[in-house]
């Protein structure tokens, strides 16, 4: 598939990149940030919409790599490739490493980045199609059209407008680590809890403002927290999560973060005796998500699997508890 025409910038330094983004944002030029390209390039190939500029940040070496933080946590550059991430955090955060290795394929993990996975575009069976295919069903909101095929009653102005589903594997795991992201813009940066990065809409997916760039991910240390992630998919390679369940245990705290079953990661937090919190999480999980018929598995099945996977993840963590 041929890529459409676009202009391409590949700044060499972060300040230059931020200045460029600010300029493009101010001028109202539509742009897309290219990190590893594994999510962006297929989307561009399938998109007829005019793309102004692709801003490649792949030369910003400052955004690559993992550094220890004084508090014992880690600071990971957003441009760190998933294969490198898996290597470099294995000792400190094996669950992050394992999760990274469940994403896509080895070749994709050699290009795809941490930032790219956290900001991976929401997916929908009506959107991730060729322009020809979109002509068949009429373009949906996300494709610039005026309809949602999954929720036909949706109208512009509705919230959410688009139900394309969130599919990052790393987000739920990092959320349960209380990870923060650093969003930089020319001359300034802000920190945001990862769980607050996302917006409940398949088009306006994140809080990243025009001109901003996700540069780093901060993962605080915790002596007591343990996290496990289970990914539901029909094949053990290539596939996005049909459902991803991350579970954390930290003393009396139980955390659950779900991916693949809503427009954004769904986070649940409980405190109390594990029997009770677990029961509550298993009851709440299926109610808090909105899976739609846009995946290999039906919405009902994905809902049904939430408590199953929560219990299994807790079982794994509990087993690790008692050596």
């Amino acid at each position: 598939m041929l890529l459409p025409a676009f202009s391409y910038e590949r700044p060499a330094e972060l300040p230059g990149a931020l200045a460029l983004l600010q300029r493009l944002a101010a001028a109202g030029v539509s742009y897309r940030v290219h990190a590893g390209g594994t999510d962006l390039v297929p989307e561009l190939k399938r998109d007829e919409a005019a793309i102004g500029t692709v801003v490649s940040i792949s030369r910003l070496e400052a955004l690559r790599g993992v550094r220890a933080r004084p508090d014992g946590g880690l600071e990971v550059g957003a441009l760190t490739r998933l294969s490198a991430l898996a290597e470099e955090v294995r000792e400190r955060f094996p669950v992050i490493s394992d999760t990274a290795l469940q994403i896509a394929s080895p070749q994709i993990r050699n290009r795809a980045t941490l930032g790219g996975n956290l900001l991976v575009d929401n997916r929908c069976v009506y959107f991730n199609q060729s322009p020809d295919h979109r002509d068949v069903h009429a373009g949906c909101f996300k494709a610039g059209g005026e309809v949602c095929h999954l929720v036909p009653s949706a109208k512009r102005g509705a919230q959410p407008l688009c139900r394309a589903r969130f599919v990052s594997d790393l987000a739920p795991v990092l959320i349960l680590h209380d990870a923060k992201v650093v969003l930089a813009r020319a001359g300034a940066e802000r920190e945001l809890l990862l769980k607050d990065l996302y917006a409940p809409d398949g088009i306006q997916r994140t809080q990243v403002a025009p001109g901003e760039l996700l540069t780093r991910v901060l993962i605080p240390a915790s002596a007591t927290r343990r996290v496990h992630y289970l990914k539901l998919r029909i094949r053990q390679a290539l596939d996005f999560p049909s459902l991803g369940v991350a579970v954390s245990l930290d003393g009396k705290k139980l955390g659950v973060a779900l991916t693949g079953v809503n427009t954004h990661p769904v986070v649940l937090a409980y405190e109390g005796a594990l029997d009770a919190t677990l029961k509550q999480a298993c009851e709440d999980g299926p109610k808090r998500v909105a899976p739609l018929a846009q995946d290999f598995f039906s919405p009902a099945y994905r809902r049904q699997m939430i408590p199953v996977l929560i219990r299994r993840a807790v079982a794994v963590l509990s087993k690790k508890d008692t050596p």
């Binding site: 598939m1 391409y8 290219h34 390209g37 080895p106 994709i108 290539l238």
Partner: protein
């Protein structure tokens, strides 16, 4: 769409080409450099057939903008053998019947070459992972995995 100069070292040969931003590395390899051993199976990063080694690591050339590869060392399937001397991975693929239609073979070979470069004694899981990034519809992967294991043994025997 203004073309820009991109410098690539492909199988040890330096090339300079003016390419449009919309050109992928796959297109440049196949259409400009006539290195057609790199296959175009889906062009959207699903099948794995277009794998090349970019600065030593297997990547999908259909997802790499040619401009992103500026300055990179690329190794394609054409650069694996040493003249007429097959790489042990290639020889193992031939000997073990890991090849049927051959369309996924370049990718499978390059992934295996990279695996053995980085992990000379891979276990079964490492070999499966190495193979899992490419779709093969002919072999059911069985003989491919056997060939990678055999190549690993051959490599460790002849350092």
């Amino acid at each position: 769409m203004e073309k820009r100069l991109v410098k690539l070292t492909v199988n040890g040969v330096a090339h300079e080409r003016a390419v449009a931003p919309a050109a992928t590395l796959l297109e440049v390899l196949r259409e400009e450099l006539f290195l057609t051993g790199t296959k175009r199976g889906c062009d959207v990063g699903d099948c794995g057939c277009c794998t090349v080694l970019l600065d030593g690591a297997p990547v999908l050339s259909c997802l790499v903008l040619a401009l992103e590869a500026d300055g990179a060392e690329i190794r394609t399937i054409e650069g694996v053998a040493n003249g007429n001397q097959l790489h042990p991975v290639q020889q193992a693929f031939v000997d073990h019947g890991a090849i049927q239609c051959g369309f996924c073979t370049p990718s499978m070979v390059l992934n295996a070459v990279h695996l053995l470069d980085t992990n000379p004694s891979p276990d079964a899981a490492a070999v499966k992972t190495c193979v899992s990034g490419t779709i093969c519809r002919c072999t059911g992967y069985t003989k491919i995995e056997q060939a990678v294991h055999a190549a690993a043994r051959a490599c460790t025997k002849t350092p």
